[in-house]
Symmetry: C2
Subunit: 232 residues, 2 copies
């Protein structure tokens, strides 16, 4: 990673923005760079694309190293081709957005250099993990731009796609309250209480994407919640 590329040759890389939702918060996984360029800056995981693989293959492989044994959902985000985006040479990067449930991310984080940063504010891009707060200038390359774009994409698509379901711990047994916390994490604001149920039922139950099971939660406080499952 420290060497420069041969002159007048373009390389293709992938960067993966792995996101997760926990307790109504949206989190992004970053690792701190050790070597130049951008030493000590925080960066999205990524690598060069080799001759034998597609960009999507490469993104999946990056994700597999990060989160072994996960078929996390991937979506192509945008391709960044700024001439000076990497000081080592000309690298065109295809950015991918990945979505995984917090539980699987957390279990893979022990012994990993990655840290999960919570999105505090999107306009100035503030990310926090414990007492450490990052802003865009602490991020390597154009990764700040990637992250802002990724958040925007999530927010835009949450209303008319099934991305929210990719964050559920168990797609075959979830409550509407769990789903609601995911929505709140993505949108960054509380959603009305009672109406959320109706919205989900209208939008996804009728369209056959999810199905209500006969099971219910047990042991918690309050009335038990109906468990739903995804179809397919």
């Amino acid at each position: 990673m420290g060497e420069t590329l041969p002159q007048s040759q373009l390389a293709v890389a992938v960067d993966v923005m792995l996101t997760t939702a926990c307790e109504g918060e949206l989190r992004v996984l970053l690792s701190q760079r050790k070597a130049a360029p951008y030493a000590h800056c925080w960066a999205l995981p990524g690598r060069m694309v080799t001759y034998q693989e597609t960009a999507e293959n490469a993104a999946h492989a990056v994700l597999e190293e990060l989160l072994p044994g996960t078929g996390a959902a991937l979506e192509q985000l945008y391709t960044f081709s700024g001439v000076n985006r990497d000081p080592r040479g000309r690298v065109v990067s295809v950015a991918y957005l990945a979505m995984a449930p917090w539980e699987r991310v957390a279990s893979s984080m022990a012994g990993s250099p990655m840290r999960a940063f919570t999105l505090v504010e999107n306009s100035r891009l503030l990310l926090r993990d414990g007492s450490l707060t990052l802003q865009e200038s602490h991020l390597a390359f154009d990764h700040g731009e990637m992250i802002r774009m990724g958040i925007e994409r999530l927010r835009g698509k949450v209303e008319y796609t099934d991305i929210a379901f990719r964050y559920l711990r168990d797609p075959d047994a979830f409550t509407l309250a769990e789903l609601q916390r995911v929505y709140e994490a993505i949108l960054g604001r509380p959603t009305g209480s009672g109406n959320f149920q109706r919205m989900i039922r209208n939008r996804y139950l009728e369209r056959g994407l999810i199905r209500q099971t006969a099971r219910k939660t047990r042991g918690g406080q309050g009335r038990p919640a109906a468990l739903f499952e995804m179809v397919n």
Copy 2:
């Protein structure tokens, strides 16, 4: 174009899907390939990205050759990185969607090898120019996939962005009927008559994107139409 690339090296290219709207039809510009691979197949214009330019620069340059003196609107569509998408070697292509008014496209087509194909059907991808009908198998590389994806993108974004306005002959003097024909071209179906006016007024006038002028059309049949202009 006919030679192969050095082994184990990736190249980056751009392909431009130039679209235009005329008389309620959506059209795509294609040229017929003369040499292998895909000789006699129809293809989107494109070229390799050089070391000194971004992908977007390259796409603009392709467009500038095709349609000189036009600042046609460009939007990144998707990056295609299939390992065998180009038999000459490994080429990753960043596809761009371009939007221009028919009048400017038509005036640039004289003496050009490009032809404007009307989208007849999107599911099977049928394109027609005069008596010549193309289907996906007549298209080079993965350009059929690009085109289908481009149409989908247009249809999805027409409702909540300003892409429809990019097809207007004169953004500073257009009627709502002209805009409606653009909508019908993109959506591929007629939109209700009277309600379109209200929709546009609600969606764009109130939000300050367009402004009604004091001018009106003259000379045509029927009642003269109010002329609108885009703000900025």
